[in-house]
């Protein structure tokens, strides 16, 4: 009996040891990577990337006369080089040439190391990483560094197709270049990209298209930074190493974002001007997966260059500890798939070769391709935009306490007073009307009882309508703070790559607000539309969320890529416009323009990067006559006078954010801490500012801005299509030149004729 027992024990012991050994052995094999069928895979891929007699890509620039015509339009000619995959665009009238590679004239002076020289002359620059090893860092390389070659070069109807092969890192990138009317389009065909073991992060296609070094000519890079900004060509710039690289339509919060403190790119557009030769690039397809990258001279090579950086994967910071913030970097697994990725390069005629010309091209693009219709016949006077704040909350003892700012009956009085100033073209945005005020999101309806409820709002709107004042209700559906609308953060929240629900904390006292999955808020908005209608609202003013927040959603229930989010938001805008009739939104990405009638609080500033040398009203030049817009609320300005002048220069209408006279102390409110809201403090200013702006802008409301330039330091001129010009002088001293007199800190209006 006992002997048997002993045996049994021994057997189990041995069996256990055996299993353990086998287990360890297996783990070791897997760890060493020998268990896989990797050898086969390698051979298979090697076959795929065999050059098959294709000549390896030659370092250096293509020979200038090795180009042959592959396309032609009324104004342009497209030439391509079979050996290098590069192309040239020739403006037929002037003979100006835009090359897809660095200007050969200055190439021998290039001082960057050979590796970068190779990258800069390569038609394609890729960044990749070994995603399996989280310690590895990414590498940027071109064709030459990877013993690359061209595959399958073939002419198409109006251009050519070619596949760039990088055998060393096992990428195949098929592209297409075509000439269409007044632009050249470069395209990456995502569906045919081949990827090996390494992970593609991003591609810069023809990065040095139209690039020029600074050689004393007038020139600049146009960036869609804020309202638009310029990097003037200049040798020996300060802090040369800095470059610009920002995601179109803003950062994707579901990934890691370097904190650059820059403004969101609302317009997928950039350009370069050198002498009288300029082009503007519009990212026309797949822009949600694009970055705008710009390297002024000295940053990466001597050339000033700007390009689209096509994103395929993004970096993600995987946190492993809530308390210490420790973690590591990783990358998204599957690459982003876009239907197409296309950049259009519009070469400009010499007389249009400035940023106003670039803006005109982009405006035409919006009108013709995006279906943005120019403004209909406007009213005689310019509009005044008044944001009325209803209520907000602040931290209370147990629950947040409600701070009333403007009840609906006080709003009637407020509007009446402003109307009494003789301002009859007014648009009201009522914010903070929802349950528990401005900082509360979710379950907007009914209008908060403490402000007057639905009935109060209805009577306010009815009153406004008697004065022909439209009332928009402010809403932001991208956040949820209270779980209403049947929102459960675990089920319906926007999740990042790690599956964490994203939150935003705008005020340290307030509990973080949860981001809502776009496909969830689509349902919520659809459900709320009838309520807006029943109140009689003329429109919805989408603030801060829809039209601005483009984040990949990894919530498996509502999975959406950036492009999907753009589509979801567009469809929301379409449906709400259809149901309500009109929409406004603040500082929106330009994909929303088709449905938005008014762009509120359009950015009027740049991001103060050291390399930026001038801020320009590019967005405003594009928009004037297309959409109405305002700049930042007048009573929140840093400098009242200067920024008033800027709104005149930028052709923007006045906007104020106001509260009633008997508002609670909003100092500690979560969102409405704004300096000074009481309308009685501002009523005189409103009258004065409106009168001055109306005088300047009333008769050009539907006109395009045709020209904008600097006449002297801090003296700017804006010209409209009727020939009317407005000259703004920001200086402390008067401007007097060629018969044009502008007093200090003032502006002058000139109706056609005399040239200053």
């Amino acid at each position: 009996m006992t002997a048997r027992k002993l045996n049994f024990k021994l057997i189990t012991k041995l069996a256990f040891i055996a299993v353990l050994l086998v287990g360890i052995g297996y783990v070791a094999l897997v760890a060493a990577g020998l268990w896989n069928h990797q050898a086969e895979v390698v051979s298979l891929e090697a076959g795929l990337f065999e050059a098959k007699g294709a000549a390896p890509y030659q370092a250096g620039l293509p020979v200038e006369d090795g180009f042959e015509a592959v396309g032609e339009s009324a104004t342009l000619q497209l030439l391509a080089n079979k050996a290098s995959g590069h192309f040239q665009v020739i403006h037929k009238a002037t003979g100006n040439i835009w090359r897809s590679y660095p200007d050969p004239q200055y190439w021998q002076d290039e001082t960057v190391p050979a590796t970068w020289k190779n990258n800069l002359s390569s038609p394609v620059m890729v960044e990749y990483v070994n995603a399996k090893n989280y310690k590895s860092s990414s590498v940027t390389a071109g064709l030459i560094e990877n013993q690359g070659y061209l595959d399958n070069f073939q002419a198409t109807e109006n251009g050519f197709k070619v596949t760039f092969v990088l055998p060393k890192v096992q990428f195949k990138i098929p592209v297409e270049v075509s000439l269409q009317g007044d632009y050249v389009e470069t395209k990456i065909i995502d569906s045919e990209i081949v990827e090996g073991a390494l992970s593609l992060l991003n591609i810069k296609l023809y990065p040095l298209f139209g690039a020029q070094p600074s050689t004393g000519q007038e020139g600049y890079i146009l960036l869609p930074d804020g309202s638009g900004s310029l990097i003037h060509f200049k040798e020996n710039r300060i802090m040369q190493q800095l470059t610009y690289n920002e995601s179109v339509y803003g950062q994707d919060l579901s990934y890691y974002n370097e904190n650059t403190g820059r403004q969101r790119i609302a317009m997928p557009v950039y350009g370069i001007k050198s002498g009288d030769q300029a082009f503007v690039a519009v990212i026309s397809q797949g822009e949600a997966f694009a970055n705008v990258y710009a390297a002024p001279s000295g940053a990466v090579g001597r050339s000033n260059w700007a390009t689209t950086e096509w994103q395929y994967r993004k970096r993600f910071f995987q946190s492993v500890s809530k308390s210490t913030g420790e973690g590591f970097y990783t990358y998204s697994g599957e690459k982003f798939a876009a239907e197409a990725r296309a950049t259009r390069y519009y070469p400009l005629a010499p007389e249009k070769s400035d940023y106003a010309g670039m803006a005109e091209v982009y405006r035409n693009y919006l009108i013709q391709e995006q279906g943005v219709k120019p403004l209909a016949e406007p009213k005689k006077d310019i509009p005044l935009y008044v944001d009325i704040v209803g209520a907000d909350i602040e931290k209370g003892l147990f629950a947040d306490s409600y701070l009333k700012a403007t009840t609906t009956s006080e709003a009637i009085e407020l509007v009446n007073r402003i109307y009494g100033l003789g301002i009859h073209n007014m648009q009201v945005h009522y914010s903070g009307w929802q349950q528990d005020g401005y900082s509360t999101h979710g379950g907007y309806f009914p209008v908060d009882k403490r402000l007057g409820g639905n009935d109060g709002m209805r009577s306010f709107i009815a009153f406004a309508h008697t004065l022909e004042i439209p009332v928009y209700l402010t809403a932001n559906y991208t956040l949820n703070t209270n779980g209403d609308d049947r929102f459960w953060w675990r089920r319906d929240g926007l999740r990042n790559l790690a599956g964490t629900v994203l939150e935003e904390q705008n005020n340290e006292d307030q509990d973080a607000a949860v981001f809502v999955s776009p496909k969830f808020y689509e349902k919520v908005v659809a459900g709320d539309l009838k309520d807006y209608k029943s109140l009689g609202a003329d429109g919805i003013y989408y603030e801060d969320g829809i039209g601005q927040q483009v984040n990949t959603d990894f919530n498996s229930r509502y999975k959406a890529s950036r492009a999907d989010v753009v589509a979801v938001q567009s469809s929301i805008l379409e449906k709400s416009k259809e149901a309500i009739g009109s929409l406004a939104a603040n500082n929106v990405n330009f994909y929303a323009l088709g449905q938005i009638d008014h762009v509120h609080r359009l950015s009027d500033d740049y991001s103060y990067d050291v390399f930026i040398s001038e801020e320009i009203p590019f967005a405003q030049i594009v928009l004037h006559g297309l959409r109405t817009y305002t700049l930042e609320w007048s009573n929140v300005r840093d400098e009242f006078e200067d920024e008033f002048l800027r709104s005149i220069e930028y052709g923007a209408y006045p906007a104020y954010v106001l509260s009633g006279d008997a508002a609670d102390d909003l100092k500690k409110s979560y969102s409405l801490w704004y300096y000074s809201l009481n309308y009685k403090d501002w009523i005189d200013r409103i009258g004065a500012e409106y009168a001055k702006t109306n005088e300047a802008l009333a008769d050009v409301q539907s006109e395009f801005i045709t020209e904008h330039r600097t006449l002297a330091p801090k003296v700017k001129e804006t010209a409209y299509s009727s020939g009317k010009r407005i000259i703004v002088n920001y200086n402390e001293s008067d401007y007097n030149h060629n018969g044009v007199f502008v007093p200090a800190k003032d502006f002058a209006v000139i109706r056609g004729g005399t040239e200053p």
Binding site: G226, H232, K234, E235, N236, I238, M239, L242, Q251, N257, E258, N259, T260, G261, Q263, F317, Q318, S319, V320, S321, K322, S323, T324, G325, E326, G327, L397, F398, E504, Q505, N506, E508, D544, N586, S603, D604, D605, Y608, D609, V610, I612, S613, L631, E632, V636, D638, E639, F640, E641, D642, E643, K667, W673, Y675, S676, L677, D681, T710, L711, P713
Partner: protein, 723 residues
């Protein structure tokens, strides 16, 4: 290299995570300066304001002005050569002379760079006859003579306007200088008499004051060492050697200094928590002490502001100071990149900066501020020693307005300042200096009611108390007749009462007898007996069941409520915290917690040491002992609302009475219920408090350990799941 990177990475990640949490709204605003400007009132409340300073360009690069596109053509030709000549290398000091010419101590290039008022290169000074070596500070006097702190050569040199060496000042010979004193001049200022004040590296003795001949006069403006109770204890316990080894007890070394037109010398000191900025008169006395509006709230003032979120832990380290023509003081903080501006009395006006962006560099934001200077146009020039450039900030419309208004107020021209402050207030209703300015104007105009209201809004105790005093006087004057009548009526009523009470007493007694005795009321009544005969009263609780559970709870709740009322209901004058609003919950929890802890620890200790009281006795009598809080606390809280700072002594005395009385009652309680002598009772109380402290410490350890454990398990789980 690799090792280092590994170490740095987590730190950066933490930083990034922190930034992301605290600056989420950065991309949201339409008009976007690269920094935000705030004001912080005496209660530490942040108030966002319009920007006081606006980026106006970058100097030291050949580019003048920010958006210089239009005149770029003119400057382009000269720019290349100029840029090369101008390229700074780890500059450490900047000085602006009376003509707004700029001098930079270009430390890494061993030279002084001279720019004109537009920032264009004029010349460089290397002193070829005796070359400069790592000059890190300089001063230019009105005659144009240049004084350089030539750190590398351990000397100060004086040059004439053309840059020729006039005199060289080595380590001064003096018996007053300690033998171990290291003479590393890093900065200097020169007063009108030609006396030189040298900042030397790490010299805690103060500035080295030299006469024009270079003879040592004395140390100027040393900082003092704070001497705490703990230090006294150490001095008592430690040996002499041990105590002397306490290096930390050296006073802070002055980091930088400046001098204004009136001859006041300003110093900044790193590594100390308070009084980092000093404004010294010729005798070396600090002129800022006790001058601030919030002096009542902040008896010791700390300079160098910070946002209270994200920045706990590391304190600001002030690097340099500048004073503008109006006497406004601006300091830069090398840790948080924050520039703070104070008026001539040390009241905060604005502070801005803070956001550390590593990915790019911004116009108007300094990454490593080394020095700051101001010119006659009111611009600030901040020297960045890593990016090797100078950021210029100009005063904004709002900043200008505040400066003008504040100057009038400081000069006592309150009426003239009123319209300006009104405009500031209109632009920013929450900006406290405007409220203070308006309040002072109202006080001057004898509109005390308005002054009182505004001072209250601003949270200024002294001003409020003064206005309240005036209003009270006025009230008394106008209501004198009524008051006298009331007093008269009361007197008559008292007399009548005396006359009638004899009759009444009889009938009352009858009624009392007829009523059945109720236990609860009897037990509650016991408290009145207790305050008359404390020891007997407590003895009665122990042995005669004079107190019950219900009555104790009632008394305790009343005491807690009275305590809460004292915290929240006391006048703003004696309890400025009411201005920000009192959160009663933590106060109550604290009160209840300490009381419970006392009950438990006292019971535990006394039961070990032959105490006769049971737990319920300790519980009951501890509630009864709180009675003074109800008895006196409520009346003095009510009273506080008609007192001013002049009657502070009365208020404090009454508060002291409560404390003493409660303490005495507790001693008698221990004596009474446990049957101890007086001395034993005190000993027991001390032991109980010790036990209480141990209990609290144990609870803290338990909580923090379990939090650590949860975090550890969580990160372990995350690692396993993710990797």
């Amino acid at each position: 290299m690799k090792n280092r990177r590994l170490r740095i990475r987590p730190a950066i990640m933490v930083l990034i995570a922190a930034i992301y949490i605290t600056w989420p709204g950065l991309q949201a605003t339409a008009s976007q300066l690269p920094y935000e400007t705030y004001y912080k009132d005496g209660f530490g409340q942040l108030v966002k304001t319009q920007a006081a300073y606006i980026p106006a360009g970058i100097l030291g690069t050949g580019t003048t002005g920010l958006l210089a596109a239009a005149d770029a053509d003119a400057s382009r030709a000269a720019s290349t050569e100029e840029t090369n000549r101008l390229q700074l290398n780890q500059p450490k000091d900047i000085f602006v002379d009376g003509k707004d010419h700029i001098y930079i101590a270009d430390t890494g290039n061993n030279r002084i760079v001279h720019l004109d008022e537009k920032g264009d290169f004029v010349r460089e000074i290397k002193v070829s006859e005796s070359p400069l070596k790592k000059p890190s500070g300089l001063y230019v006097d009105q005659a144009g003579e240049i004084y350089v702190a030539d750190t590398g050569n351990n000397r100060v040199v004086r040059l004439d306007a053309a840059g020729k060496l006039l005199k060289e000042f080595g380590r001064p010979e003096s018996s007053y200088l300690p033998a171990g004193f290291k003479y590393d001049p890093v900065n200097l200022i020169v007063d009108k008499r030609g006396f030189i004040y040298v900042t030397t590296l790490g010299a805690y003795q103060g500035l080295v004051q030299l006469d024009p001949e270079g003879d040592f006069i004395s140390f100027f403006g040393p900082n003092k060492v704070p001497f705490t109770l703990f230090d006294a204890f150490k001095r008592f316990v430690y040996t002499r050697e041990m105590y002397q080894r306490e290096l930390r007890k050296l006073p802070g070394a002055i980091a930088n200094s400046t001098i204004d037109q009136n001859g006041f010398i300003y110093t900044v000191t790193k590594e100390i928590q308070t009084d980092q900025v000093k404004k010294l008169n010729i005798a070396g006395l600090d002129q800022l002490k006790g001058k601030g509006e919030f002096a009542a709230l902040q008896p010791v003032k700390s300079y160098g502001e910070f946002f209270h979120y994200s920045q706990r832990g590391i304190r600001p380290q002030l690097n340099d100071i500048t004073v503008d023509a109006a006497g406004n003081i601006t300091v830069i903080d090398a840790v948080w990149n924050i520039i703070s501006q104070y008026d001539l009395n040390g009241n905060l006006l604005f502070f801005w900066g803070g956001d550390v962006i590593t990915a790019t560099s911004k116009t108007g934001v300094v990454k490593t501020p080394a020095a700051i200077a101001s010119n006659s146009k009111g611009e600030l020039l901040v020297l960045d020693s890593v990016n090797n450039l100078i950021q210029v900030l100009r005063l904004s419309e709002f900043g200008q307005l505040v400066h003008e208004a504040n100057q009038l107020t400081q000069e006592g021209r309150y009426e003239q300042s009123e319209p300006l402050w009104t405009e500031v207030h209109r632009l920013n209703a929450q900006y406290t200096p405007a409220l203070i300015g308006l309040a002072k104007a109202a006080y001057k105009k004898e509109d005390y009611a308005r002054a009182e209201k505004l001072f209250y809004q601003a949270g200024v105790v002294n001003g409020y108390s003064d206005s309240f005093w005036q209003n009270r006087l006025k009230w008394f004057q106008s209501h004198f007749g009524l008051l006298m009548n009331i007093a008269l009526a009361l007197g008559i009523a008292y007399l009548l009462w005396n006359a009638l009470s004899k009759k009444l007493k009889w009938s009352l007694k009858l009624r009392a007898k007829s009523r059945p005795k109720r236990l609860l009321t009897e037990q509650l009544k016991h408290v009145f007996y207790l305050i008359k005969h404390p020891v007997d009263g407590f003895y009665a609780i122990r042995y005669e069941n004079k107190a019950g559970f219900l009555s104790s709870i009632i008394l305790f709740l009343l005491a807690a409520a009275a305590y809460g009322y004292m915290q929240a209901g006391t006048s703003f004058i004696f309890n400025p915290a009411v201005h920000v609003g009192i959160d009663l919950l933590p106060i109550t929890v604290q009160f209840v917690g300490i009381w419970l802890g006392w009950v438990v620890s006292n019971y535990l200790i006394s039961s070990l040491l032959r105490g006769e009281g049971r737990f319920r006795d300790v519980f009951f009598s501890s509630s009864y002992a709180l009675f003074p809080i109800i008895l006196i606390g409520i009346p003095i809280t009510l009273l506080s609302n008609v007192l001013t700072l002049n009657e502070l002594a009365i208020f404090n005395f009454l508060k002291l009475v409560i404390i003493l009385w409660v303490v005495l009652l507790l001693i008698w309680m221990v004596q009474g219920i446990h049957n101890y002598t007086f001395i034993e009772a005190i000993l027991i109380i001390v032991l109980s408090l010790l036990a209480l402290a141990i209990i609290v410490i144990l609870i803290f350890i338990l909580i923090s350990l379990s939090i650590e454990l949860v975090n550890f398990i969580n990160s372990l789980y995350q690692e396993v799941i993710i990797r």
